[in-house]
């Protein structure tokens, strides 16, 4: 891959004797916004820390902008990291937090001042220069942390769960903010998250990880529509995943026949891909909740619970009543075993 800006080759990361990431290969293009997505313990944070230089790999190499940085210490790598806890320096003002790295480079005072003010302006914190971290909200603290990294003009900016500590409204705001900053600066960004909605909304490409390996890599649209494994499908909101046996789908609880014999060994349906109100199968309503544009049913079926979204036009079926449904082959996503 000649266009790789960040290249992880055969990267192996371990803590003592336990291997967290065995043999990872990943290329990231310049200016890309990449999400490392996965449940806790999947190795995403470990991978990010090794790119930053905070964790020395036990094998493999890391190349950034054509230079092998595997043995370059973290303070010489030119990589920014926005910590999940922000990790601001509590004894310094917002201005001095942002200026911290510039001061270490012993730049002229005028340049430090100018770049720091620019940095604070980029994240919309002009006027907050004299505040200490304790005097700022979580969202503002995170902006300071972002500005502190940005003013260093890093080759790569890493973000650890950038939205997880914010409330819903701020989360949306920060998401747009990150995208805008990335557009404006063109910095290559890698962020770690366990929230698939966050990854889908923000990233150019998503690296879905499981047990230290890449489960699937692709654009958000790709991953959303075409997960390849049951794990990926589950992460992307396919709530009904069943094995295929002959022309039946089976679960530990039982089986249901399909209209025809499928070609994939596993089939998955999103709740909105399940037909409700008509169809060959019957179940009982175990739960029903109103979700604005649709109703979310949990149907107790021969396969166990099935999650299904019904159009609001369909009259509500009360709890405990029988409801008809179908698992259409046409809306199913076939998965590899």
């Amino acid at each position: 891959m000649s266009d790789a800006f960040v290249q992880l080759s055969d990267l192996t990361l371990s803590y003592g004797k336990s291997v967290a990431v065995p043999n990872l290969n990943l290329s990231i293009r310049e200016g890309e916004l990449i999400a490392l997505l996965g449940p806790s313990g999947c190795g995403k944070t470990t991978t990010m820390r090794s790119i930053a230089g905070l964790l020395a790999p036990s094998g493999g190499t890391i190349t950034i902008d054509g230079r092998d940085v595997t043995r370059v210490p973290a303070n010489k790598r030119g990589i920014g990291l926005v910590f999940q806890s922000y990790a601001l320096f509590p004894h310094l003002t917002a201005f001095e937090n942002v200026a911290f790295g510039l001061r270490l480079q012993k730049l002229p005072e005028a340049e430090i001042r100018q770049r720091t003010e620019e940095g604070l302006a980029t994240v919309g914190l002009t006027g907050f220069e004299k505040r200490k971290p304790a005097e700022m909200s979580g969202g503002q603290q995170q902006r300071v942390a972002l500005a502190r990294s940005l003013v260093m003009r890093p080759k790569v900016l890493l973000l650890d769960e950038p939205l997880s500590n914010l409330d819903a409204r701020l989360r949306l705001e920060m998401r747009t903010e990150l995208q805008r900053v990335q557009k404006e600066t063109g910095i290559t960004m890698v962020f770690v998250t366990h929230d698939q909605a966050e990854a889908l909304a923000l990233a150019d490409r998503i690296v879905l990880m499981k047990d230290g390996r890449i489960e699937q890599l692709g654009t958000p649209a790709d991953l959303y529509a075409r997960p390849e494994t049951a794990f990926a499908a589950e992460f992307m909101g396919f709530e009904n995943i069943f094995k295929v046996e002959g022309t039946d789908v089976i679960s530990p609880k039982g089986r249901l026949p399909l209209a025809a014999s499928p070609t994939s060994p596993i089939l998955a349906w999103r709740p909105d891909a399940v037909t409700v109100g008509s169809g060959p199968h019957e179940g009982r309503v175990a739960a029903c909740s109103f979700a604005g544009a649709h109703r979310e049913y949990v149907i107790d079926s021969a396969l166990g619970p099935i999650k299904a979204d019904a159009a609001i036009a369909l009259p509500e079926v009360p709890l405990g009543q029988t409801i008809r449904f179908d698992l259409p082959l046409a809306t199913a996503r076939g998965l590899a075993a």
């Binding site: 930053a52 230089g53 905070l54 973290a74 303070n75 010489k76 790598r77 990589i79 920014g80 990291l81 910590f83 806890s85 990790a87 601001l88 320096f89 509590p90 004894h91 911290f100 790295g101 270490l104 480079q105 942390a145 502190r148 990294s149 260093m152």
Partner: protein, 262 residues
Amino acid sequence: MNPSMRHLANWTILGLTLSFLIGPFLIIILAGASATDYLAFPPEGLTLKWYLKVFTVESFRASFLLSMALAVFGTLAALLLGVPAAYALNRYDLPGAETLRTIVAAPIIVPGIIVGLALLRYMVVPTGVTVTLALFMAHTALVLPYAVRVVSSSMTNLRADMEEAAVLLGCSRLQAFTKVVLPNIRGGVLAAFILGFVTSFNQVPVSLFLSGPGVRTLPIDMLAYMEITFDPSVAALSALLAFMSLAIVYTAERLLGFSRYV
């Protein structure tokens, strides 16, 4: 017991406790002001002459300076050892960290008499170090537990990722420590210094064993003085020292909320 009785009992207990804590202090202040030539309580007549005489006793002046020097430099040395020790105990998952903590705390737990005797028998006698050096080392060791403990507690809320952030911004590990860790534990270090200073200054049993001819800390000198002269100046000096400790702790409390750290 009915509520008013219980109320009375509570106040009685509180009153007794306070009088046991503050009483001796008041007795000393008054005894030092007695107009008699011997130590007397209650004082017979009041005078300030013993409080003034304290400043004219030559040996008191020398031993005061020694005690001051021991308290200042012993505590500084203890901090020089204790701050890195506290840092290591907090930051790294050291094997035997708990054992280490216990060993560091030992000088608090082991009676001073034993520490003094042990130091005399196994350090001073075989190596022949000077009395001043022996005292300095002993005071450093005695203050070390406080230094480690107090600095440790000010470090527990300091997250490791702050240092990592500093490193990613270009700091070496050492710079990250001096630029990010130290400024944030400054309160704890100051508190440890004050606690160490007071502990060292008031230290008796260990100094008792290690003091030599002509080299005595102030408390030991006071003991020696009392054996010969039984006038109220010792009580006056004690009161003055108590006031000094009080002033230091009070200032520290006002300046940095000392009690938060201890």
